[in-house]
Assembly symmetry: C2
Homo-oligomer: 142 residues x 2
DNA sequence: CAGAATCCAATAGGATACTG
DNA sequence: CAGTATCCTATTGGATTCTG
């Protein structure tokens, strides 16, 4: 009996379907989401907002290594995509508060999936690296 | 009754814990995984391998816009992390086959979670963008 | 406080040519 | 076929300065 292709989660099929038409590679849903998640901050900011709404500088303090430039840019994109709601209160100086929308909150779920995968496999990956690096250096010294 | 912080999936707490110590921001498990996923190809290659093992040039054909340089680099990293197994058959010319390890296959699950989130929310996000862009251009023309 | 604007550095990644 | 090596470009993102 020939080994059937192991279809995992339908990801491969979905991906193949779009690889077929070279033209619209960037319309592939897989690539779409990955290019989003790819950005260093577009996931970190929603995580920072996961517990409660924060003001601009509170987010900066929550993510110490983000620059104001990047935070502004990231917040605009998240707002544009409907993941984050921006509210301005006409105080002096102005108070601006950012919070996740329901859509934004829903993103936390798949992200949590990724993070728990990372935690669950951390040791196994570290171990694999040790083995790989040892073999590689053995090869070099042989 | 005061509104309690909405703890979603424990992500925020996990994240805060690491933000506290500025020193080891890059040891934060959240960041670790995101920097991996961040790379354009480190997720695409496992997806391409999800159905069956592929040879080097088969992967290139599956991901038409990857360069040989990037593919080699990506495969080495995946191999190092124990996600991909590389097998050389001493034919002429040599045959090299790449396949996902069990660890590698397990990564497909959280990725699929992300992709199905993207598909489920696609229309809502498009809609949000239309609204945002219209308001923005209204503001510019006012 | 909450940005906008400008300039600059680092990194990711592509194109091409070459090799066993 | 399965890479390696070199060079070059583009994108990402940080630092700094300025403003309402």
């Amino acid at each position: 009996m020939p080994r059937l292709p192991q279809e995992n989660h339908g990801l491969g099929a979905l991906f193949e379907q779009w690889s077929a038409n070279e033209r619209d590679l960037d319309k592939c849903p897989v690539r779409r989401v990955l290019s989003k998640i790819g950005n260093r901050w577009t996931t970190l900011v929603p995580i920072a907002l996961s517990q409660r709404p924060l003001r601009f500088n509170e987010i900066v303090r929550a993510i110490p290594d983000i620059s104001k430039r990047m935070l502004t840019q990231t917040l605009r994109e998240l707002e544009r995509d409907g993941l984050v709601l921006r509210q301005v209160f006409p105080t002096k100086p102005p108070t601006v508060e950012y919070q996740l929308t329901e859509l934004g909150k829903s993103l936390l779920e798949p992200i949590a999936g990724l993070v728990s995968w990372a935690e669950a496999t951390r040791l196994e990956i570290e171990q694999a690296r040790l083995v790989f690096d040892r073999v590689a250096s053995d090869g070099a010294n042989a």
